[in-house]
Symmetry: C2
Subunit: 191 residues, 2 copies
């Protein structure tokens, strides 16, 4: 199945506090399937990764700034967790606008663990069947989502998982779902 | 005004990831006013503190476990922030039950920064005028709160502030508010 994402560009939206494995392992799965990925963030340089929220786990290089990208630049969006990461990102209007526009575009969006807070802040959780890390579920319900406790859930263009333990199922599913994307947006300008 | 909290017992509910100054400075203000404080948590030993969520900032010793305390043991409750701290605590049914019971008891409860997530999880935010760190505000609104952007807000028995910058106003207010508590509960059994 290698190559099913050949030519695809995927934005990985992350900030300080990102849970290392929730960025690294989906990134590897997407790249192994042929996708190009960019780490998109709110400041230049590097972001600090964590293991289990509290243990230093190196850094990731930021490839592009949120203010310099548009939905047209990407075929799919990945929102990893780590408690502090989405908590920082959801306060940025440019991030919230990007996430909302991406979900509304119909292109595939995937999120794991604490990442689904983005759907609360962008007000795109309403009526969606979603899962997340347990602490986020009351916030998802209050934002109108139907919350389920399953390792991976796809509802329309949104795929969610609960925790790092779900990464095998999550990585397999997002490669499948991202391969479904209509590759009509911006492909002419890909260099 | 020293001594206005003489004989009072205050529970400070916290876990790993607590923002150091949001525990330490209110604790000092309360103790300077004569209160006895206990750090109450979900595991024995120590909890790891942070500065700005990401920088190691030492530890606090846990004085009592949540499963061993009741609302009757305390005259007031303090809920500090730090993103990871309330995120961990809100997943524990014993914590949620304690916070809900405390708010419903009418005794004073104070929270700062990310701490107000407790009120979402305990479903006691509805109709309350509250403030918090900006990232928590959508969750508070979705839980039915009226969210305001002020350095310190008291609505009934709940006092809230936004961030470490508000600590001077927060500390002054909680000493005032905790002094109002009816000291009728459990005082007979204080040793």
């Amino acid at each position: 199945m290698a190559g099913e994402l050949e030519g695809q560009r995927v934005a990985i939206l992350a900030a300080d506090g990102v849970e290392r494995v929730e960025l690294e392992r989906p990134q590897r799965a997407l790249e192994d399937a042929g996708a190009h990925t960019d780490v998109v963030s709110i400041e230049r340089g590097e972001i600090q990764a964590r293991d289990h929220d509290l243990v230093d786990a190196g850094t990731f290089t930021v490839n592009r700034l949120i203010d310099d990208v548009s939905v047209d630049d990407y075929e799919a969006l990945l929102l990893p967790g780590g408690t502090v990461n989405p908590d920082k990102l959801r306060m940025q209007p440019s991030v919230v606008k990007f996430v909302r526009a991406f979900v509304q575009s119909g292109k595939p969006v995937a999120s794991i663990c604490h990442g689904p807070w983005h759907f609360v802040e962008a007000d795109v959780a309403r009526g969606r069947r979603l899962t997340s890390w347990p602490s986020v579920r009351t916030d998802l319900r209050n934002a109108g989502a139907e919350v389920v406790d399953e390792e991976v859930v796809t509802d329309g263009n949104i795929t969610t998982s609960r925790s790092p333990d779900d990464l095998p199922a999550f990585c397999e599913r997002i490669v499948q779902e991202f391969a479904r994307t209509p590759q009509s947006t911006g492909t002419e300008s890909r260099s």
